[in-house]
Amino acid sequence: MIELDRVTRTFSTPGGTITAVSEVSLAFGAGEVMCLVGESGCGKTTTGRLLAGLLRPSSGRLLFDGGDVWATRGADLGRFRRGVQLVHQDPYASLNPVRTVYDTLSAPLFRHGKARGHDGAVRLIRALLERVGLTPPDDLLPKYPHQLSGGQRQRVAIARALTVDPRVIVADEAVSMVDVSIRVTLLDLLLGLRDELGVTIVLITHDLAVARYFARHGRIGVMYLGRVVELAPAERLVADPAHPYTAALIGAVPEADPAVTRAKRRVPLRGTEIPSLLALPPGCAFHPRCPLFEAGLCDVLVPAVLPIPSEREVACHVAVRERTRVAAPA
């Protein structure tokens, strides 16, 4: 339904050209759930914005219902824009401080003809607020953002996204700045939208545990320095990471269980420095730190994202070789 086809995005900076996203291909069907995880600089936020059409690919295509989005104009581009909505990370910045909840939610309803007149808008807004768990809705209509808590603001932001009946919601770290104790309800809310409305949800996060919970019936995509390095169903990824970077991440995450976390086996990496996006290493970008590094291969050839058994994909020469060999009939 929506697809990034070999998309690359570069930015020019005073220091040189940064390749934030490099040859990324991701395809989503309706009602899918995916988590994009990675550390800062991996390109996950840029990928999210490319998906939402807020950034234009430097090369490659963004496909929506089979059509190239950036080749269309006018009404079609407008339809795409409404079809994919972004929910931001910072609840304090995502709502206009001088507009009430009613103002913020009614504007798109009026603009796109879904409501006529104040009463019609109020009725629709009430339903939206209830759907995102803000009750009683009438209390909230006249409120300004500074009168709401962080969690409430995020819900309003989600309600705002829903005003245009999107088919895809990209949540960029949408729960990272919200208190731990209420994160789960927001995540469940987003999953509920998938269940009830068939909306595809893409959650971008740096928190692997959140990714595991959120994408438990979907997939996790791991990114490193602008590339997708692994793509797999959540449980399989966590239980048996194919890419050494994924394994390193999983081993490094502290857990809320003293016995487990203090006994955790780390994956030793060969180096601690993260390469700058201005000067990416040749071949596989992870090779300077990779415990599975093979000279002559990993520092020469960029690994493609290739399928491995059990509906998974990975971009690692060694992993692909080991896993397909094992699966191949003797």
Binding site: E39, S40, S149, G150, G151, Q152, D179, V180, S181, I182, R183, V184, T185, D188, H206, D207, L208, A209, V210, R212, Y213, R216, E235, V238, A248, L249, I250, A252, V253, P254, E255, A256, D257, P258, A259, V260, T261, R262, K264, R266, L269, T272, E273, I274
Partner: protein, 334 residues
């Protein structure tokens, strides 16, 4: 011998709507070399508490009561009663702080060496050579290359490197207590791992005590000897790390554990804590947690519970229904 003893500390802020009672009577002790974690979310008062310990609160904050007794090897002295000069000598030599916001508050036009020199001079190290030696030694201890780092400007360093520089700066005068506010929050997973391991290694090697503030339970699980959970300006539970994680007795602690997703083990059922943190200008009557508490009974609205010993004397919880909590938890949490 107790290194730090906090007795009934209360801090409030002036605001347009009235006095915000950020810390409402907190007491705890820290033994030499011990790592104590204070876990709380936004509005719990943990940051106010952390800066209050060495009197770095902002202008509109007032410490309304309590004592912060620090034993400097000679005698316990109340930090809150110190005059300016004594306080200046106390800070950094006996207790130092690593702030959360410090990652972005390096002065961009000053190189790292000047940062060390200024800090050293401000706290009584007048000889630049001595400062240089000590700085180089500490930078090596935090696994950084002194020659490269001392010459650098902040923008040349990564987040993890800056955090290590801050830790080295804090250790400049060999304090016996390090206070850290959200030490790993802004860092990536792999960098976070390095800092956690570094802190552990430093404590083992140099023997200082640590008080760190965080919202991240897993950080406490990694590093802490003892954990305190904080809610609405009060300590609601205090226990050894294994007691807190395996035998929590306060509903808020239990709620937090249930709200945190796990990476290892079974993907359990998660639940948020309903409601939101209380208004600290007008805290709820009785127990501040009762509006959100699944164990609340009528008495909880009237009585503000004190910390009582549960299970063992070293494990305390501020809840009149802790035995009901124990019964429920015993059946579930790993």
């Amino acid at each position: 011998m107790t290194l730090l003893s906090v007795r009934d500390l209360a801090i409030e802020y002036a605001s347009r709507r009235g006095a915000v009672q950020a810390v409402r009577g907190v007491s705890f002790d820290v033994a030499p070399g011990e790592i104590v974690a204070i876990i709380g979310e936004s509005g719990s008062g943990k940051t106010s508490l952390a800066v209050g310990l060495i009197r770095l609160t902002p202008r509109n904050a007032r410490t309304t009561r309590g004592e912060v007794l620090f034993d400097d090897g000679i005698a316990p002295r109340d930090v809150l009663e110190m005059d300016r000069e004594t306080l200046r000598r106390f800070r950094w030599r006996h207790a130092a702080m690593v702030f959360q916001s410090a990652l972005s508050s390096f002065n961009p036009v000053i190189d790292i060496w000047s940062q060390f020199l200024d800090t050293g001079r401000a706290h009584g190290m007048s000889d630049p050579r001595a400062v240089r030696e000590r700085a180089s030694e500490l930078l090596r201890v935090v696994h950084l290359d002194p020659d490269r780092v001392l010459r650098a400007y902040p923008h040349m360093l990564s987040g993890g490197m800056k955090q290590r520089v801050l830790i080295a700066l804090a250790l400049l005068l060999g304090p016996r207590l390090l206070i850290l506010d959200e030490p790993t929050t802004a860092l990536d997973i792999l960098t976070q791992r390095q800092i956690i391991d570094l802190l552990r290694e430093l404590r083992d090697r140099l023997g200082f005590a640590m008080v760190f503030i965080s919202h991240d339970l897993s950080l406490a699980a990694e590093l802490a000897d003892r954990v305190l959970t904080m809610y609405a300006g009060r300590i609601v539970e205090e226990a050894s790390v294994s007691d807190l994680f395996y035998r929590p007795r306060h509903p808020y602690t239990v709620g937090l554990m249930r709200a945190v997703p796990r990476l290892s083990g079974e993907p359990g059922a998660l639940a948020s804590i309903p409601g939101s943190p209380p208004d600290l200008v007008r805290p709820p009557s009785g127990c501040a947690y009762h509006p959100r508490c699944p164990f609340a009974i009528d008495r909880c609205r009237a009585v503000d519970p004190a910390l009582v010993a549960v299970d063992t004397p070293a494990h305390t919880a501020a809840c009149i229904r802790w035995d009901a909590v124990a019964a429920e938890v015993g059946a579930r949490i790993a």
